[in-house]
Subunit: 190 residues, 4 copies
DNA sequence: TATGAATGAGTATTCATTCAT
DNA sequence: GATGAATGAATACTCATTCAT
């Protein structure tokens, strides 16, 4: 049994979680240029502890991305089973945008549109894309979404709106009015 | 009488332009964290030359913004006079997005929708917004754009698509397919 | 509970001392414009180590001041108890001037006569002034110093001689001859 | 006739004088670290003009020193001829200290006590020292100053008091009280 | 294992000096 | 002669990363 396979001690696992949580808070507050020291302080651990769990700053950021993806995936199965496929599709879209401020990285990942996925994120990323595709196809079958809407432009749109909503702090009204335009563009011409 | 009123010497003006050009290239390449030294090297000038024309890194970034705005404004009068108001509207939208890789800041500014514009950019920013509004109203009068589309959501959409197109390096096809959805959303329901 | 209360690790304290020592040497050699890098090199530590212990250049300079003051204060109680009040007074004066090359800042502080002392130095500065006053009064009672010599001019003289001795690298002979003139001026007319 | 011998054109001479004057003002205001640009602005000339007259920053500073020395020398012949040699001696000392705020450099030069005189200053510096020595010797002959007071300690004292008076902004009263002590130290024991 | 002290390359900015205009 | 634009070495300070305690 190599050292890599060893399960983490309880306190080590707890520390890893605290670091991740703190990193999300600090990145949200200070932006991508937030320092490792700031993360350590927020987490209440030493700098070395961060580096024990994440070998580089990049690795920590990537771990946050993966975490967000995983949380996203959790909600998907229920939506996929929903009766109203159109409502599920548009609702999912709206949910993501509404939470865009905590989803910047998700937006980034979605906007990547399948290219250039970072190592370690391929599985969960693929899971998300699969689920989105399922939502899309079901909504198209149900006639709620135009048949010629492809995944690339859907992901591109979703990513774009998330990015802008987070960056420019869209209010609820602006978000709803903007999404209404986008959704109308997604609906079949009558 | 002050130095501000004096026109720059020919070589100084040339250098200032080179710095701005280089800064656009370097910012596009390295992101907002690009160093002043990198800009100086790209421009082929000394570090001091940058600081002669732009007292701080912030000032340089703002100058880039203003420059982009100004270039944008130059094309607007012709569009406003165009016969086909709908084509002018959608064409302008497409133009901006097509050049989005060099227009990140424009997107920011547009999306800001008039809020928190840096000093010195208010005028040109307002000019752009005015022109966009004219294009919108004319396109609505011509029946090419739905009547209930307001400026806030239009600017939000425009900003979002620009931001994403620049950030994720959309290819021509992805861009066109995505814009087609957005444009359909802007058109009146038949 | 805070970091401030924690005692420094042994090596950290050693490094802090080395930095202070090196800073004294370098400031004496290069003047107040000495660079932080020069201090780091003299101390044999990295630049960052200096900044860990002293957040700014100003803070380092102030720490040197305080350190010198403290060393000065250590010697005072014994002098104040000395049998020969005149010898104690003139001896103290001579001691300070003799060490003037490492006491430039003390001179500044003394000459300031209580005005404009940096925060954190007021206490020790006041202690020095109190002790000097005690030495003076006792020497006057003992008839070794003229009764009309006040603290302001005493501190002014002390500061002046220290400043010049440090600045112009007085040799032992020049210092002694000069002090003899000053001391004669301090003695009562027979 | 080489270029070096050519007398300066009237405007050039005027500019040189303006630069010197401005440099005195700026150095007094900003200290020795004052920038050449600040001097140029105060003088109302271009940077290049300064460098036409003074090849380096050092040269400018030295020129200021020489100028101050020269002004000092102008007053000396009258003092040397004065009837009361003691009054002349102490009066000269007081005058210098009184003007110490504009005499910092003089103080520096005097305090050098004959060592390390900068090139170009040797003549005027020597003139000053000669005159001071004459004042001293005459005062000693007149019995107003103790016979064992040598030039080195006299210059050292003078320099010290000037330095401190300028640095710590002595008021008139503090200056007079302090000088009284020094002068008493210079007088013969009765 | 956890800590945080140490490191030093990298950043923005200033300023003496040169030289084209 | 005068100007001020250009230069780039130098400075204070930050921060990702390593490693002794």
């Amino acid at each position: 049994m190599t050292e890599q396979d060893k399960p983490l001690r309880a306190d080590a696992r707890r520390n890893k979680a605290r670091v991740l949580e703190a990193a999300e808070v600090v990145l949200a507050r200070d932006g991508v240029t937030a320092s490792m020291r700031a993360v350590a302080q927020e987490a209440g651990v030493g700098l070395g502890t961060i580096y024990r769990h994440f070998p580089t700053r990049e690795a920590l950021h990537e771990a946050i991305l993966v975490g967000r993806m995983e949380r996203l995936v959790e909600d998907l199965p229920a939506l996929i089973e929903a009766a109203d496929a159109g409502a599920a599709f548009f609702g999912f879209f709206t949910d993501i945008v509404t939470n865009a401020s905590r989803m910047k990285a998700v937006a980034d990942a979605l906007a990547d549109a399948g290219v250039d996925v970072k190592a370690g994120m391929s599985e969960v990323g693929a899971a998300v894309r699969n689920a989105v595709e399922t939502l899309l196809v079901r909504a198209q079958w149900a006639g709620a979404v135009r048949a010629d809407l492809g995944m690339p432009e859907l992901l591109a749109l979703l990513g774009a709106v998330c990015l802008a909503a987070e960056r420019n702090q869209w209010g609820a009204e602006l978000r709803d009015r903007t999404l209404e335009v986008v959704f109308d563009g997604c609906r079949p011409r009558p």
